[in-house]
Subunit: 239 residues, 2 copies
């Protein structure tokens, strides 16, 4: 992945909102896992069924921690209006009486790919590198500032595009996974647009100093490393 | 307040569920703030309007931290079904599109009592002892086990009764606070019943060892101390 300095140098004053947003967008543009070799192979239809299952099982470890990290972010907000906005992310994944939620949809993807639901839930086959990557993200959301934790979520700026590409790739290359298995990817297109829009507005509003802006960019780069490292571990998994 | 040992001694094996539930209920029975002199004066109609306002303003500092501590508890649960149950507590306080929520109701109580909404929101007049008590509770929910954090919420076993008493006391003794100001107390009667029932079932299920049972009892006693200390600070506030 691309490494090296991210965005702004150390001069004193904050950049204007337009420049800051451009810098924010450029981080996942260069570092998001849409560029990872494993993701590119997935979308070209080059994964074996076993490789695909390894990814689905390991990525589930990430998915099931999304509501945990979002609850940690929620606990940082002192404004009920902000919490009302953010709590929807938790119900999006955990579900409600009327909606099964993202975790249940991912379990359906796993079953459609031939994985055992009990194996997914037990999590015992999750790779160490994946556990560490997810721990890193959860701990950033536990220990970071509200600005850092929200900025880290801005990988979602790129989620709708990667999901759209992935849905087409699965339909073309992995038709043995039925349409029902793709429900998670489909739900994330509108959710990712809405969530990233809200998070971007928060970050643009809260990053008042140059140091704030740099911290937000660094948190977003860290999050990209989490996702990249997760795919590294999956890519190197023993067959 | 009552101090001294809580419930179980140090012998090895866990007590049966019935005995444990009786021990759990006996903690707030003896230590909950329904026995605090300030609460007794409030319910006898002996508070001056200024004393009542001091209580409302300071207790708001507790109220506004309820969703924060509940988000910290939420982040401890790895089961979507448990999170779906607990997340409702957050929306109960923060509100939804259809329901103003408990924090808005408490603000209405403050305004009905003649407090300035901006003063309530600014929080600058909150007493140091109240801040420390609330910090203690939030930190228990941040750093404790899921069992301890949920057990601490079991003061709600006594909340419906204290709310029913309080509504009658306000209607009788403080009629200058209109009915609209009592909406928070009224909403907590059914919410407290439902919440404490769910929390009690969780604690009875999760406390498997004698050490678990003792930890749950200690957490509930600590929570009683939080509420008691809050009223101590209010009771001693300079006029």
């Amino acid at each position: 992945m691309v490494t090296g300095p991210i965005g702004l140098d150390d001069t004193g004053s904050p950049v204007d909102a337009e420049t800051f947003e451009r810098e924010l967008r450029s981080v996942p543009e260069r570092r998001y896992h849409h560029r990872h070799p494993f993701n590119l192979r997935m979308h070209r239809g080059e994964l074996t069924p076993d490789e695909l299952r390894t990814w689905i099982l390991n990525r589930f470890h990430y998915q099931r921690h999304i509501p945990v990290k979002d609850a940690l972010i929620l606990a940082k907000f002192d404004d009920p209006a902000l919490r009302r906005m953010w709590v929807r992310r938790i119900t999006d994944h955990d579900g409600t009486e009327d909606d099964e939620g993202g975790i249940a949809r991912w379990l359906r993807l796993g079953e459609a790919a031939g994985l055992d639901r009990a194996d997914l839930l037990a999590g015992e086959k999750v790779l160490p590198g994946v556990r560490l990557a997810v721990d890193g993200y959860v701990n950033l959301c536990r220990d970071g500032t509200p600005l850092e934790a929200v900025a880290a979520s801005l990988t979602e700026l790129f989620a709708p595009d990667i999901m759209t590409t992935r849905i087409a790739a699965f339909e073309k290359h992995y038709p043995w996974i039925g349409q029902g298995g793709l429900a998670y990817f489909k739900s994330r297109v509108p959710q990712g647009r809405r969530d990233s829009g809200e998070a971007l507005a928060f970050v643009l509003d809260r990053a008042r100093t140059r140091a704030d802006q740099k911290a937000a960019l660094a948190a977003l780069a860290y999050k990209c490393e989490v996702l990249w490292t997760l795919l590294d571990a999956v890519d190197r998994a023993p067959a």
